[in-house]
Each structure stands twice: as structure tokens, then as C-alpha cells.
């Protein structure tokens, strides 16, 4: 068997692995309990799935290496950022968390921030009174 064929076989397997992740991601998109989990399932799985599929294509067609590398970089930057923005917007517009959520770090942070601001305000008022 020539070297070229082996490349194609390896690339095919990697691409199939990628599509597996994409399928799992789309199942997660339907099955997960709330918006945040869905965003997470959709993003993580689709990022890795896309990257694996593109890597598979690199093995099959080595000439496209540069272009595909750029695509992978682009997906790596844009996918997490866009899902982060979506999740943030959902949180601030008060999309409910699922009932079994236990830890809400962002809420704690916001409360700390809020109390810090209130404290600063109080200090400033006191200084002005003096």
C-alpha cells in the first residue's frame, strides 16, 4: 500500500472522530436541561469536532495545510468567544438556570462587586460629610 493511501485512511479516521463529536454535540443541544448547558455542549463539541474534521482533511490533502490551519485558528478564537457572549447575554437577561444548579460563581462575584461598590459609596459620602 502506498504512503498516500495510509494518509487518507488516517485522515478519514480523524475526520470520522470529528463528526462523532459533532453528533454528540447536537444530541447535547437537544438533551441538556437549560440554555447554559446547551450552549456549553454545542460549543465544546462543535469546536473540537470542527478542528478534528479539518485536521483529517489536512492528512488527506496536505497542500491545503496553511489554509486549514488558519481556519482552525479562526474557529478556536471565534467559537468560544461567541458562546461566551451568548451565555453572558442570557445570564444578564435572567434566563433561568436549571433547578439542580448548585454553584453560581458569577452570582457570588456580582454580589461581592455590588457590596464593594456600596461600601466605596458609603466611604465617599462619609468623607464628603467631614
Amino acid at each position: 500500500m502506498s504512503e498516500n493511501n495510509w494518509n487518507e485512511i488516517i485522515g478519514g479516521f480523524i475526520a470520522i472522530g470529528g463528526s462523532l463529536f459533532l453528533v454528540l454535540g447536537s444530541i447535547g443541544l437537544v438533551r441538556m436541561p437549560d440554555a447554559y448547558n446547551r450552549i456549553q455542549a454545542g460549543t465544546k463539541a462543535s469546536t473540537l469536532g470542527t478542528i478534528l474534521s479539518l485536521t483529517g482533511i489536512i492528512f488527506i490533502v496536505p497542500d491545503w495545510f496553511g489554509k486549514l490551519l488558519l481556519l482552525i485558528l479562526f474557529v478556536l478564537i471565534t467559537n468560544p468567544v461567541s458562546s461566551h457572549v451568548l451565555a453572558r447575554a442570557a445570564y444578564y437577561t435572567k434566563v433561568p438556570l436549571t433547578g439542580i444548579t448548585k454553584v453560581d460563581k458569577l452570582k457570588e462575584t456580582l454580589e461581592v462587586e455590588e457590596s464593594r461598590k456600596a461600601h466605596l459609596k458609603k466611604v465617599r459620602i462619609q468623607k464628603e460629610e467631614e
Binding site: I77, H84, V85
Partner: protein
């Protein structure tokens, strides 16, 4: 249960409808008269490696001018509809602080998006794409900038100037085609060059640059109008 049965019934009905369409469909396997003319003579007459842009910009250039006009009208009408009345005072929309991730990522991505947009419309005569697509990509970069900085103000004057200049240049090239070559929007007023290189296909790259700038400016203008009328008090 009844709901599920209804859904299944609906899907089956849809499947039957599309099955009928699919069975009676037979695609055109041979080119029509005009199509075969384009396919046989397009590359030689126009010199563009991408036959679609050869047709869109030269053979059907007048239609493209019409499309650009439609887009311009749409942008103008959106501006007109969204324009606030003078006595209508709107509270400035409270803007939440944008997340640091988005602002830093947009600083990296926006130049790349602009570059891709410019690449798409400069290479319109060689690769799939062209002025409209490139312009839309550029406008999406502007949208990302607005998302990262919601209070950013897109200068109406600059956008309008770019749009007008590129519109006038588009028509001017068309008229130059009448004077120097065979007719309106004839691309042979510049030398056709070597087939498949960047500087080929006569005036097509030039026309596509202007279309790209115009479309990008128009779409950015729409985005800017919508954002402006939400954010700030009218003058």
C-alpha cells in the same frame, strides 16, 4: 399522543408533497442557448476565470447596477423609518459593560475580517465571491466592532462619502465602457491581461472593488442607524 400523531401526519403529508416535486423534476442537462454562449465565449471575451462574475459584472452589468440601487434604497428607507422625530426624546439605553473577552477577541478578529472581505472582492474575477459577498463580510466586521463597543458612533458622513464615491465610480466606469469599448459596463476598456492572474479581466476587479466598498458602506450604514437610534438621544 394525538399531538404526536398529528405531527407524524403532517410530516407524511409534507413528504408526499416533496416526493411529487422530486419525481416530476428533471434538471436541465444541456445549457440553453444563452448559457452555452456564455460558457463558450465568456472566458475569451471577458477574460475572467470566474464565469459567474463575468456574467454578473459585464454581460448583466446593468442588473447589478439595479441590485446595488435596491440595496441603497433599502438602506435609505431603514434610515428614514428609524429616524426619530425631533421632539421625541428617548432615554439613552443603559449599556452593560462589554466583557473583556469580547473586546480583546474583536481586536484580533476585526482586522482579519476586513482583510478577508477585501480579499473576496478583489479576487472576485478569479474565485467564488465578489463585491456583494465581500461587502457583507466587511459589514459583519463593523457589526462585531459595534458589539464590542456598543456606544461606538459610525460616522454617517464618512460612510455616505464612501458610498457615493464608489457608486459614482461604478457608473463612470460603465460610461467609460461606452466611450472606450463596446458598450455600457464593457470591461475591455482596460487590457484583459493574462487569464487567471490578479490583474486580468479588464475592469472587473475595479468594478468589484467599488461594488464591495458600496455594499459594505450601505450595510454598515444600516447597522449604524439601528444602533444609533437605540443608544443616543436625537439632536
Amino acid at each position: 399522543m394525538i399531538k404526536k400523531l398529528l405531527i407524524v401526519g403532517l410530516l407524511t403529508g409534507l413528504a408526499f408533497m416533496f416526493y411529487g416535486l422530486l419525481i416530476s423534476y428533471n434538471g436541465n442537462e444541456t445549457l440553453t442557448g444563452l448559457g452555452s454562449y456564455y460558457a463558450q465565449n465568456g472566458a475569451r471575451e471577458v477574460g475572467a476565470a470566474n464565469l459567474v462574475s463575468a456574467i454578473v459584472v459585464t454581460y448583466r452589468g446593468l442588473d447589478t447596477l439595479g441590485e446595488v440601487t435596491i440595496l441603497f434604497l433599502a438602506a435609505a428607507i431603514i434610515g428614514f423609518v428609524l429616524k426619530l422625530k425631533k421632539d421625541e426624546v428617548v432615554e439613552a439605553r443603559p449599556v452593560r459593560e462589554t466583557s473583556e473577552l469580547l473586546t480583546s477577541a474583536s481586536q484580533v478578529i476585526v482586522p482579519v475580517i476586513f482583510l478577508v472581505g477585501v480579499y473576496i472582492f478583489i479576487n472576485g474575477h478569479l474565485t467564488p465571491g465578489g463585491g456583494f459577498q465581500g461587502g457583507a463580510v466587511i459589514a459583519s466586521g463593523v457589526l462585531l466592532m459595534l458589539l464590542a463597543n456598543p456606544t461606538m458612533h459610525i460616522s454617517h458622513n464618512i460612510v455616505a462619502t464612501i458610498e457615493s464615491i464608489s457608486g459614482i465610480a461604478f457608473v463612470a466606469i460603465g460610461i467609460l465602457g461606452i466611450v472606450l469599448a463596446g458598450g455600457f459596463l464593457d470591461n475591455r476598456l482596460l487590457p484583459l491581461g493574462e487569464f487567471g492572474t490578479l490583474l486580468s479581466a479588464g475592469a472587473i476587479p475595479l468594478i468589484y472593488i467599488f461594488i464591495g466598498l458600496k455594499v459594505g458602506a450601505e450595510l454598515s450604514n444600516i447597522i449604524g442607524t439601528i444602533s444609533y437610534n437605540q443608544n443616543e438621544k436625537p439632536n
